[in-house]
């Protein structure tokens, strides 16, 4: 899995996912970290009547402004600035909804109202009212054209006060930013409002305040320098603050710095095309709108950590565009030399080459940037990627995922950054986590199967025991009684009827035979001698076996289950050997080692025994397995067979 396939999800997104974290097999340390990070931004949103009033007021103002301006200026101009104003007020209101006294909220609302009431509504009034001679249309006209100067001060204030609404604590310079911006914007305004330059923007085309007696140019330029300085200082303050900040505050500032950087990059870059391209003007207005959006995101702490991702992707695509664009141009020129200028083939080839280069180049750039941008994150993900590769190759066990995950997350220094990376880490580890879960499930089921198998074996033993009891205590006793009755009859008849005596003698013989057979059957089902212990039962087995057999059994008792299992294992192994091995002698050796009862049955027969379906050894294997034991069979052809079964007999 490559890095590009991973995505960063904010804490909220992780919350909604039916993820492996709910699974008990997840590493607890990661879970608790996640839990405490998830609820960072859970301050309830509560909009007060004033907030609603501000929001609705702005909407009404914009509706009026659009109605007044409609058809009197390009539609995009009307709409884009309406959106900008609403976005500012909305962002401000939403910030105040969570943090009622947050200065940034008020600054954004002020910027939005300035845009909405003064610039947009004022312009609308001027556009509609100037031809009709509405009162105040001249004032509105001028105000709408001058409001931007105050907007600059508000932006400077936003920069220097972000993110907590207070000035940076360190540095003597910063307290001067606000007055400088304020004075600068007022002076700029004064110069602008009394100068000639503004006339081109006015609907009336003539500035009523223009005066020869006022040094309007001097005022304008000195004010503008002060205003620009304060904005610049505000930006510097913000960047310095970001570099010094940690954790959440750093992330918040990153948002704002990113948005400002985009604005600062786009506006000057697009300036040459501003007059000629409508698209550029729309784009500029929308890009400027990034600032309130970034401020809202940062203060709300909504998906705060996505900024890393956004910055990294932005850089990737900026670089990609530059490199590919440059390459394309160079290729077109170079191929043009070969195939002739303006050749379609050259263009097509260049396009093809650039298209082919796109994906690998993007991956390469992405890796470079990820490494440069966030070393910890890159290494952590690389750890997991290696682990997953090893896992697929069978070099590592999925259960190690937690150790790897813990190691990977230890590469990331702060809890906040970890929270950002964790979803990606989890996704990378998801295969292993799923495997662990499945394996745990499998183990559980296996335990269940083993338990049920053991229960079945135990039930069978109990049943055998019952049948054996019934045969011995019921049928056999009746036969003995019958025999006794016959003997009594024989006694009563005495020697008077030798014929009858002979018949009775034969009948008693039959009964004796029946009892003998019954005893054999009962013993086959379950030897009653097993009640005396394993030693007695195995001696009994040795006695009944039709070949020489040496036995060694410890003279002590084990649990009923172990004794029964051991007896039947030995019994089946011995029977199997006697039947198939062609051996001349058998050895049965039972020992106790470290809580294990080891049953060893060996013969000097033909060997070659194996576990086959329906074979006698399968029964042995099943029985051993049912008791959670181990079975090994050594049976080289011509070298006899040795069967070793181990049963746990602890306690």
């Amino acid at each position: 899995m490559s890095v590009e396939m991973t995505s960063i999800k904010g804490p909220q997104a992780a919350n909604a996912r039916p993820c492996g974290c709910c699974n008990p097999v997840c590493v607890p340390v990661l879970n608790t970290r996640m839990l405490c990070l998830r609820h960072y931004s859970e301050v309830e949103l509560r909009l007060r009547p004033m907030h609603w009033a501000l929001l609705l007021g702005t909407l009404v103002v914009e509706v009026l402004a659009i109605a007044l301006s409609w058809g009197r200026e390009p539609a995009w101009d009307t709409l884009v600035y309406a959106v900008y104003a609403i976005a500012n007020v909305l962002a401000g209101v939403l910030i105040l909804g969570r943090h009622p006294r947050h200065v940034i909220g008020w600054v954004l609302i002020a910027a939005g109202l300035l845009q909405g009431v003064v610039s947009d509504l004022g312009q609308g009034w001027a556009l509609a009212g100037t031809p009709r001679g509405w009162s105040g249309s001249a004032v509105a006209d001028l105000a709408a054209s001058c409001a931007w100067a105050l907007g600059g001060a508000l932006m400077a204030a936003t920069f220097v006060l972000f993110p907590d609404g207070r000035l940076p604590q360190a540095g003597r310079l910063w307290p001067w930013v606000l007055p400088l911006g304020g004075i600068g914007s007022v002076v700029t305004l004064a110069g602008w409002a009394t100068g000639d330059q503004v006339s081109s923007l006015l609907v009336s085309g003539r500035n009523p305040l223009a005066s020869e007696h006022i040094p309007s140019d001097l005022l304008f330029w000195s004010g503008l320098v002060a205003l620009a300085t304060s904005m610049l200082l505000g930006l510097v303050a913000m960047v310095l603050r970001m570099l010094r900040a940690q954790g959440v505050e750093r992330q918040q500032l990153k948002w704002m710095v990113f948005a400002s950087a985009v604005v600062m990059a786009v506006l000057p870059a697009s300036a040459p095309f501003y007059a000629s391209s409508v698209t550029v003007r729309i784009a500029d207005a929308l890009v400027t709108g990034l600032i309130p959006v970034a401020a809202l995101a940062a203060i709300w702490r909504y998906r705060l950590y996505d900024i890393e991702f956004i910055i990294s992707r932005t850089l990737v695509y900026v670089c990609l565009t530059a490199v590919l664009g440059g390459s394309f141009a160079a290729l077109v020129v170079a191929l043009g030399v070969v195939f002739g200028r303006g050749s379609t083939l050259a263009t097509a080839l260049a396009t093809l080459l650039v298209t082919i280069a796109f994906r690998p180049l993007r991956t390469w750039l992405q890796r470079r940037l990820d490494r440069r941008f966030d070393r910890g994150r890159f290494d952590a993900l690389a750890d997991l990627t290696h682990f997953t590769t090893d896992l697929r190759a069978g070099r590592r066990e999925p259960e190690e995922v937690y150790v790897v995950m813990a190691e990977a997350s230890s590469r990331i220094r702060s809890e906040e950054a970890l929270a950002a990376v964790l979803p990606a880490l989890e996704e990378e580890a998801s295969l292993a986590i799923e495997m662990v879960r499945l394996r745990a499930e499998l183990r559980e089921q296996l335990v269940e199967v083993r338990d049920s198998r053991r229960r079945i074996v135990e039930a069978t033993e109990a049943e055998r025991r019952r049948i054996e009891r019934d045969l011995h205590d019921g049928t056999q006793q009746r036969l003995v009684s019958l025999g006794l009755a016959l003997r009594h009859l024989q006694h009563e008849l005495g020697t008077t009827t030798p014929e009858m005596t002979g018949i009775l003698e034969a009948a008693v013989g039959e009964v004796t035979g029946a009892i003998e057979e019954l005893r054999e059957i009962a013993r086959g089902i379950r030897p009653g001698v097993l009640d005396d212990g394993l030693t007695s039962a195995l001696r009994d087995l040795a006695h009944r076996t039709q070949m020489p057999m040496a036995i060694a059994v410890p003279d002590r008792r084990f649990s009923k289950e172990v004794e029964t299992a051991a007896y039947f294992i030995a019994c089946e192994a011995v029977t199997n050997a006697a039947k198939h091995s062609g051996a001349s002698r058998l050895d049965l050796d039972v020992r106790q080692f470290d809580g294990q009862l080891v049953i060893r049955v060996s013969d000097d027969g033909i060997g070659g025994a194996e576990l086959r379906d329906g074979g006698g050894l399968v029964g042995v294997s099943d029985r051993v397995a049912a008791h959670g034991g181990r079975l090994s069979i050594e049976s080289e052809t011509g070298h006899g067979t040795t069967l070793i079964a181990e049963l746990s007999c602890a306690s």
Binding site: V480, S481, L484, H488, A522, V529, I551, A552
Partner: protein, 215 residues
């Protein structure tokens, strides 16, 4: 001979009682379980108690435990335990006392032999079922037993039942001298010192078979 029969199955109990009566013995009491047996035995003072192994309430080894209790209280009493199957551990443990016998239940059908054994036990002799003996012998194959011939094994089994040399000779239809020479060889092979006492012979054989030290 005065006999007490302890057997939980009515038919069998009555059959056994008839068997002893037909053989000319007096059945002084019959009981269905071992509850309060000792008092009853003290009261009727029999020569022999014939007892089933599995009896109420648990049907496991009530008979064995009752037999041990009786022998401890009245050492001179003959106790003959009848079992449905071969139980070496209990039986051998008890047969080490004089006046004790352990037989498979169907031995009762060989009336003559059974009554003879019962009388021997009542007189203080021992009796251990041939099946038990052969079982023990099988278990000891790794020792000197392996060296015994089939005839010697037979003789050993009869010795363990408590028979004298003469008794063995009669049972196997051999001359006394032949039996004596078997016994001698057998003792040499098993490394058991010869002894005059019948009971000690049994004990010696059993102890050896069980792998313990000679008494």
């Amino acid at each position: 001979m005065r006999v007490v029969i302890v057997e939980d199955q009515v038919l069998l109990r009555e059959g056994l009682a008839r068997l002893f009566q037909d053989g000319g013995h007096e059945v002084v009491a019959t009981r269905g379980d071992a509850e309060g047996l000792l008092a009853a035995v003290r009261h009727v003072a029999p020569d022999l108690v014939v007892m089933d192994v599995r009896m109420p309430p648990t049907h496991t080894d009530e008979g064995i435990r009752a037999a041990a209790e009786l022998k401890e209280a009245i050492p001179t009493l003959g106790v003959l335990v009848l079992s449905q199957h071969v139980e070496t551990v209990h039986s051998v443990g008890l047969v080490e006392h004089p006046g004790f016998g352990y037989l498979l239940k169907d031995r009762v059908l060989e009336v003559g032999e059974f009554l003879a054994t019962a009388e021997r036990v009542a007189r203080g002799g021992s009796a251990l079922d041939p099946k038990v003996i052969s079982n023990l012998v099988a278990g000891r194959q790794r020792h000197g037993i392996q060296a015994l011939s089939e005839r010697e094994l037979e003789v050993l089994a009869l010795m363990a039942e408590g028979l004298t040399n003469a008794g063995i000779a009669q049972r196997l239809v051999l001359s006394d001298r032949t039996v004596e020479s078997h016994v001698r060889r057998l003792f040499i092979k098993l490394d058991i010192p010869e002894s005059a006492s019948e009971h000690r012979r049994v004990l010696a054989v059993l102890t050896h078979l069980r792998g313990g030290e000679a008494p």
